[in-house]
Amino acid sequence: MYAKFLLLLALVSFNAIAAPEIQTWQTNRGIKVYFVRTEQLPILDIQVVFDAGSVRDPVDKRGLSLLVNSLLDQAAGGQDADQISAGFEGYGAEYSAQSGYDSASVSIRSLSDSDRLQPALANLHTVLTRPDFREADLERQRNQVLVGLQRNQQSPSDIAEEKFLAAIYKDHPYAYLNEGTVESLAKITHDDLVTFHASLYTASNAMVTIVGNTDRAGAEAIAVQLTGDLPEGVKPAPMDSVRPLAAAESISIAHPSSQVHILIGQPGMRYGDPDYFPLYVGNHILGGNGLVSRISDEVREKRGLSYSAGSYFAPRRDMGPFLASIQVRGDQAAEGLAVLKKTISDFIAQGPTAEELDAVKKNITGGFPLRIDSNKKISGYLSVIGFYGLPLDYLDRFNDRIESITVEQIKDAFTRRIDSNKFVTVQVGPVAQTGSGN
């Protein structure tokens, strides 16, 4: 049977899977548009993305970017939230707003016939350009964020993540949750919302992605309709760089849970990173490929210590986190941590075997069609390619890049970039509290 698998693999690699054809242009306002036409379903996914994530929060007003983004549809153009949401939902359209570290965006999914698309687009335009930021809405939304922050404190994994980010990023904005803090949220005023929106939800700071059932002329019209009257604005200044960790740090937080949540890692890599592919492929072998990865094999399959065990890089504009995590019963925390650390340091020291690399290349390249098998997934790639300035042929060349990676490149990249002697280690659960420090 195994021979048959190999035969199938050979056949497939001759029929390379075509990546979607990405069309791109600039509107008359200079806003970049990324468009993929798909005609099989009568739907459209439209997203407007701004360089307005939490890295743009004022130092004493963390959480502002998220509040601005989540308040857009609460009152706009004189309409209240009931009217705005009915203006989407009454036509079957789905509105959503996303706010991350680097970017903030608004998007809709709508049926593509103009009777339903046009009202949803007009509504989206109002939300995007004329939010009212009413005081009452601010108060309510702020309280909801506070309830969420309070709830985080009953979750060992949320506490661990918060401590981990703070420890690896220190004073960089990546160190904070998008939600901000109890103290910073209290300082945010109506004027802050207006100023943030006016300076960052602008033409010079925007891009548009469109995927679905329309033609080029239709896509051009949608982009202009949504962004044609955005204020010009100025591109925000580049951020301060993430600094590498100077020394290892261990943090233990006592929490009344039965498991200890263990996170270890450091700042990892960025989008467009020269080491992106060796680190990505290497991590797939180390901890990124479910049950087949080394960390899962050592921690879960061989020892039954943890249900979830793995590692990932979360690339951002600057160095996003490299993070490995397990959750183990309190009395097995020491063993779990030791196994996790040894698995990572062995991998850094020795690199993958040729067999592992061969297997993981087959996994990634053979799975390429799955990455782009829906409008939703294509839309996700467009915003990453557009926002982070990845080459337009990123998807076309993806499999070739993966194929070209060698054992030596992975070993070299991990040795240079990942230093297990400087990891931050966070443990939350039934542990003696040490607070922060070595």
Partner: protein, 460 residues
């Protein structure tokens, strides 16, 4: 304006007929459902078994889910870990999930590799080795899963109590992952017996959605599954829920930060309207589905509009109606109070909304919105082959038959305001209600159940 929306909805229904599903049955009883979707060169393959936690009995809860874990531990032909390794080398993504009424295994792969999935699934349908040493490790993994998902998550722990309280005799009272004590006492022989009882072609449905030709899939299914032996499947005894005679109220005191409220009413599922022994009108479950949409189907729905924004009594509130199941389930409302608001205020506000539904008809505009959303989300869901396969597999496996899934949009379109009011009046009544409250205890770390062997495990 409203009229014109309705007109658009109706014409969309007729132009976008649901893609055809082809059904085949092999001689050994295996059912195969194929839905061609040629949008991307990808195929989703799912194997659904008619077994889950609602088939289990006291003392053996969680055995279906534990067996699901062990299905990756090798057969005579493919040793431990081989299944996942072969799927991975072929670029596939795979996993499995267990529910009250089903256990499902799935792979998503480039379309030419369907045979690989079939060969491996057919093999583990009858030839699992279930070695004891692997079980002893894996049951520890399952217990860690339970600790992570339930023991250390106050809201999940509370939901478990809510279910176990609402249901008295129905097996839906049991958690899918099983009670911790049952996991601790579980033996490999329990899994071997369970495997023999339920894992057979005549208790399975294979669902394939993707860029395939139905007849070719049928031929492939015959090639790999046809030789598997049937099993004499003895249907589980029916365990209907006894009639509830009065409101139940339970308080969960658990270390937490934020209180939580759950209100759950006993409601008939679609099985009671469209199953083998109908006991309610066909429209009733769909009216409950619409009612749920009126309350929480979006930002313009009543809960967001009135309780989160208007009265600001909830930080979050949503409803859920169990439409598909082997047995009748619940209509439940879960809510978190807004800052400085009490559980009592929140419960009163939700009760008032339920009362309004039974006293007044919903507006024409609300009804049209729900219908527009149902029509459009039916189209949006076709962006996911996996979701389409999920729907077919669920309907088939709980005993509704996959064809019932095609009725959904049309049935919802026909629901009237009077019918929504009627089901509110009939089912959302106090005597059928279970109220569960999470009453937070202080998050005192010192009170943690610190195990004995803790002495030297603290990290610097």
């Amino acid at each position: 304006m409203l009229k014109s929306i309705l007109a658009i909805i109706l014409c969309l229904c007729s132009t976008l007929a649901t893609a055809q599903v082809n059904e085949y049955v092999l001689k050994n009883g295996l059912k195969l459902l194929v839905k061609e979707d040629h949008r991307a060169p990808v195929v989703v393959s799912q194997v659904w078994y008619k077994v889950g936690s609602s088939y289990e009995y006291d003392g053996l809860t969680g055995v279906s889910h534990a067996l699901e874990h062990m299905m990756f531990k090798g057969t005579k032909k493919h040793g431990e870990g081989e299944f996942s390794r072969i799927i991975a080398e072929n670029g596939g993504s795979e996993n499995a999930f267990t529910g009250d009424d089903y256990t499902c295994y799935f792979q998503t792969m480039e379309k030419s590799r369907l045979a690989i999935s079939f060969e491996l699934e057919a093999d583990r349908m009858r030839n699992l080795t279930l070695p004891e040493d692997e079980f002893l490790k894996e049951i520890e993994v399952v217990m860690e899963e339970r600790r992570m998902r339930t023991e250390d998550n106050p809201n999940a722990y509370m939901r478990e109590v809510a279910n176990a309280t609402a249901f008295q005799s129905s097996p839906y009272r049991q958690p899918v992952i099983g009670w911790m004590a049952d996991l601790k006492s579980m033996k490999i022989q329990h899994l071997r017996d369970w495997y023999k009882l339920w894992y057979a072609p005549n208790n399975a449905t294979v669902v394939v959605v993707g860029d395939v030709e139905s007849e070719e899939v049928y031929a492939l299914a015959k090639k790999y599954f046809a030789s598997l032996k049937k099993e004499n499947i003895i249907p589980p005894s029916p365990r209907p829920e006894v009639h509830q005679s009065g409101m139940k109220r339970v308080i969960v005191k658990r270390q937490a930060e934020v209180p939580q409220l759950n209100m759950a009413w006993k409601t008939p599922g679609l099985i009671s309207a469209a199953g083998p022994k109908p006991s309610v009108e066909i429209w009733e479950p769909y009216a409950l589905e619409v009612l749920s949409g009126i309350l929480s189907g979006g930002n313009s729905a009543r809960f967001e509009s009135r309780l989160v924004r208007g009265q600001q009594v909830a930080a979050g509130v949503g409803s859920d109606y169990q439409l598909t199941g082997r047995f009748d389930g619940l209509f439940s409302v879960s809510a978190t109070p807004a800052q400085n608001r009490t559980i009592a205020e929140l419960e009163a506000a939700i009760t008032e909304q339920i009362q309004q539904l039974s006293e007044h008809e919903v507006s024409a505009e609300e009804l049209l919105r729900i219908k527009a959303q149902v029509v459009s989300s039916d189209v949006y869901q076709r962006d996911s082959a996996f979701y389409q396969a999920m729907v077919l597999g669920t309907f088939e496996t709980v005993g509704l038959g996959w064809k019932q899934a095609d009725e959904y949009v049309n049935q919802v379109q026909q629901i009237t305001a009077a019918q929504v009011q009627a089901v509110a009046k009939k089912y959302l009544v106090d005597d059928q209600l279970t109220v569960t409250v999470l009453d937070p205890l202080p998050m005192d770390a010192a009170a943690a159940p610190v195990p004995a062997a803790m002495g030297d495990q603290n990290v610097r």
